[in-house]
Symmetry: C2
Subunit: 129 residues, 2 copies
């Protein structure tokens, strides 16, 4: 049982810290962010290539996702002065480092998807029954 | 450069699979879910204890988050027939297994938060400048 007057994260960090971490987690755990980071993990890509590789993403959502990755220092945007201008996106060292835990979580999700799907079916059947 | 006619995830899984994984990631990467899973990682807890441990979460949001964890087979809800009834939440084996990659991602976020914060300040200064 928890009887904490000063809630702390399990590793001994304060809840303030825990909250900041969870804010970052929810940003990078965002569905489109994970997909874009995984595609950029294969190498630099242009906007149109990213859009093709990630079916179903709107132009606006891809623009927003890339801008957030750029803001977080996880990807760079390079404009080449060709006609028409070529714009490349690429992971930074920080972005590439992020791939390691993201892929571990992805691996967990991939391995355990059948269990989660089965749990959902059981839960939904119970609610309906 | 990416010139894929059949987009595939970096590890060779199809994009269909990649999408399902990213859906699960975005569910478990949700800010409140991560916090609740981390608190439950310390042991079973009652609703009121969870609410106290996670400052700022509304009753409605905690109810929703716990119900989703239950639906995904990551936590159990046990009602004890006391007066008033006692309701305990506890991670399942699947939920405890999830803690491993979640903590790795949390560790990454904790270590790299200063870098991300600095990148954001640089980006925002450039946009304003």
């Amino acid at each position: 049982m928890l009887t904490l007057s000063h809630p702390r994260a399990p590793d001994g960090h304060g809840s303030e810290d825990c909250r900041a971490v969870s804010e970052i987690l929810s940003r990078i755990g965002d569905k489109w962010t994970v997909l874009v980071v995984q595609v950029l993990g294969r190498g630099p890509a242009r906007f149109s290539e990213l859009r093709r590789a990630i079916g179903g993403i709107s132009q606006k959502m891809l623009t927003t996702t890339l801008r957030q990755l750029e803001r977080d220092g996880l990807a760079t945007r390079t404009v080449y002065p060709t006609i028409p201008p070529r714009v490349d996106y690429e992971l930074t060292d920080l972005g590439r480092a992020l791939l390691v835990p993201v892929n571990a979580l992805g691996e967990w999700a991939r391995e355990n998807r059948p269990r989660i799907d089965a749990a959902r079916r059981r839960f939904d059947a119970q609610v309906e029954g």
